[in-house]
């Protein structure tokens, strides 16, 4: 079980074996393991049996889905590997399995580091009830906020809150310390170990791990970019011109194009409340969008119009744009040009606000594109036009 319900950006998750490679480099104890690319690889296995075979997919709940199996000899292992390679978990098939030595822990903990947006600081999380049944409620999970620069006492503070005593305090806080180093050095969104196995003698082992890379910092971590690409050979980290969080496809007939995240959401809400069925919604980005600076805003608009009209289901397009620096007249001309080029009829409802809007309205009307001043009216017209 991993923190799936808050971390929604699976594209940025490393696979378990990749996370464990980072753990190994950072000095976090992990078991001897080997990557298995096909069942035959098991014939050359260097790890002694019994072993655990794990499906390398990003989805959580692998154990319950049957993606984690034990084997005591080569024949069993090959059969188990064949089954796992053919088992999709939440729609995802593994390219690789991880074969790992079996470990008998006397207890399993949960550990994680992430950024808390309200505290605006990294937080350390820990629970003595780790493993599959870990719960994220305040009575089960301990939390330490790293207010100032990190120092190992923060890790010990968490270990004590988790109820640890004796040698376990040092063993677990050493792991937390190294997790924190990894978190900061690689600009990560999340480092999680669940479970951290612990034996009676105080020996600890990261039995499963999760690392979520931060999108904003990726360009200064080329190693992480390569790891993400290794897994996504057919699926680039960013597909298309617009990131997946800016362009969302649904199954209605109304295409929605806006600029700015909040305005796009507000427009989408209005359409839904008017009982409209959106085919998609696209946020072009506001004018200070960084990745939009190199390209021409009108070219970006053209690409956006292409995106929202790609699906043959789209029969009406609602455009709601607030222009700051870009001239409304230029926007209007781009809209008209596009509406004339598109090879199938679409109804256009345009709501444009900005400096020279009067001239723009004239341009739109001359080309028979509906142009209205109020957002409410535009939404109502667009929903009715479907």
């Amino acid at each position: 079980m991993v923190v799936e319900w808050w971390n929604t950006n699976r594209q940025m998750d490393l696979l378990e074996y990749q996370a464990k490679e980072l753990f190994r480099e950072t000095g976090i104890p992990v078991l001897p393991s080997q990557k298995i690319r096909c069942p035959q690889d098991l014939k050359g296995l260097k790890i002694p049996y019994p072993i655990v075979l794990k499906s390398q997919v990003r989805a959580g709940g692998r154990g319950k889905a049957g993606g984690i199996r034990f084997a005591t000899n080569t024949i069993d292992a090959i059969a188990a590997a064949q089954a796992i390679f053919n088992l999709p978990i939440q729609g995802e098939l593994p390219d690789v399995l991880l074969a790992e030595a079996k470990y008998n822990a006397s207890q399993e903990f949960y550990l994680a580091i992430l950024l808390d947006r309200t505290a605006r600081r990294p937080v350390l999380l820990g629970s003595p009830y780790g493993g599959v049944e870990v719960t994220f409620t305040q009575d089960k999970m301990q939390r330490v906020v790293v207010d100032e620069e990190f120092s190992p006492f923060y890790a010990r503070r968490l270990a004590l809150k988790m109820g640890l005593t004796g040698e376990a305090i040092e063993a677990v806080s050493t792991v937390i310390k190294r997790m924190y180093r990894l978190f900061v050095q690689q600009d990560l969104d999340l480092v999680e170990i669940n479970p951290l196995g612990i034996r009676h003698n105080g020996e600890v082992m990261a039995l499963d791990g999760k690392v979520t890379v931060n999108n904003e910092a990726l360009n200064r971590h080329h190693h992480l970019t390569r790891l993400l690409q290794e897994r996504n050979l057919e699926e680039p980290v960013y597909s298309g011109v617009f990131p997946s969080h800016d362009f969302v496809e649904l199954d209605g007939k109304l295409g929605i194009l806006c600029n700015g995240a909040g305005l796009t959401m507000a427009t989408f809400d209005l359409v839904c409340e008017a009982k409209g069925k959106p085919a998609n919604f696209l946020n072009l980005g506001s004018e200070q969008t960084w990745y939009g600076m190199d390209d021409d805003p009108l070219e970006r608009l053209r690409l956006g119009l292409e995106a929202v009209t790609t699906s043959p289901n789209v029969s009406v397009v609602l455009v709601n744009l607030i222009a700051g620096v870009t001239l409304c007249q230029d926007i209007a001309r781009t809209l008209v040009e596009f509406s004339e080029q598109i090879d199938r009829p679409c109804k256009w409802i345009v709501r444009l606000v900005g400096g020279d809007v009067v001239a723009a309205e004239k341009t739109l009307k001359q080309a028979n594109l509906t142009s209205v001043k109020s957002l409410d009216e535009a939404v109502s017209l667009a929903v009715k036009a479907v």
Partner: protein
């Protein structure tokens, strides 16, 4: 108010294309843009603004500077902000979008220690209509008045400013705290600033899915704010479990129902950051006695009602 027509402003990254456009607009609005910084271009001039290699050199030449607007590339923002703080500037607006969150954590630690007010990142900054424009707000949508407008998204702020203006309601300020996950200043902080501002008679908070800044704001209003507050929340219909445009706008997978169940069982969700749903935010505002507009155009009606 910490910002007036007398506030002296520096543009960090004045050679960036976005800064070039907006420093002219800021100046045209009457903002006292006294210096620009762009390493290597010291000694030159951009649109009548003298450019320096370092903030401290600029201060030596033009005298005290009160605020900096930062336009540099994302990985350079932390350094630019620390440079401004080191030179003694205590008000920063970061326009740049997509600054690495751990850089922001470092900046916040420094800002807290030096009592520096940080707006953004990923913010159009602020406008006090008729007095000062600090950032990229299109001034034409705003008119001077008594409504304090605080929001997260740029264009949605302009939309609401315009609808207030059309309804005859001027604004005492328009400020966007920014769309990134980790922000320099919070809704609660701005509520406090506007509560103390003589010109502001009513406050409009424009929230969106993700984070828990709106919930914290609702709590703060109930405890400490005497002026009337009106709220609006964008994103009530967007699909759950998606990040939408803003790094900060993640609709949590944790459904409203799960939350209620947890609550009934006497438990609370561990992460504040996971609450995030529009329903949760709206409920928080309503529980604090704050009227919530159903749509942007309804805000001006609620403001008029509150002013009566």
């Amino acid at each position: 108010m910490q910002f007036t027509a007398k506030t002296k402003v520096l543009i960090h990254g004045i050679a960036e294309p976005l800064a070039a456009t907006h420093s002219i607009l800021m100046k045209a609005y009457g903002t006292q843009v006294v210096a620009g910084v762009s390493p290597g271009l010291g000694g030159s001039e951009r649109d009548g603004i003298p450019v320096y290699d370092l903030v401290e050199v600029a201060m030596k030449e033009v005298g005290p500077i009160d605020a900096a607007v930062i336009f540099v590339k994302p990985y350079l923002v932390l350094d630019a902000a620390l440079e401004a703080i080191a030179a003694g500037i205590r008000r920063l607006a970061i326009v740049t979008e997509g600054m690495p969150p751990m850089d922001m954590v470092k900046l916040i630690r420094k800002a807290d220690a030096t009592e520096t007010l940080v707006i953004g990142p990923s913010s159009p900054g602020l406008i006090i209509p008729g007095e000062i424009l600090l950032g990229t707000h299109p001034a034409e949508f705003y008119t001077p008045g008594s409504v304090g407008l605080i929001s997260r998204c740029g264009t949605l702020t302009y939309e609401i400013a315009l609808s207030l203006t059309e309804a005859g309601l001027g604004q005492s300020i328009g400020v966007s705290i920014g769309g990134d996950g980790i922000l320099g200043s919070s809704f609660a902080q701005w509520l406090q600033i506007l509560d103390e501002d003589d010109r502001t008679e009513v406050i409009v908070i424009v929230g969106e899915i993700g984070g828990s800044g709106e919930e914290a704001a609702a709590e703060y209003v109930a405890e400490a704010i005497d002026k009337p507050v009106i709220a609006y929340v964008a994103g009530r219909h967007v699909p759950k479990g998606r990040r939408l445009g803003h790094a900060g706008a993640i609709a949590a997978n944790l459904s409203h129902k799960t939350e209620k169940k947890l609550k009934q069982a006497g438990k609370t969700a561990l992460f504040d950051l996971d609450i995030g749903t529009a329903e949760h935010k709206i409920e928080a505002f309503k529980n604090a006695g704050i009227p919530v507009a159903e749509r942007p155009s309804e805000i001006s009606k609620l403001v008029k009602k509150a002013l009566k």
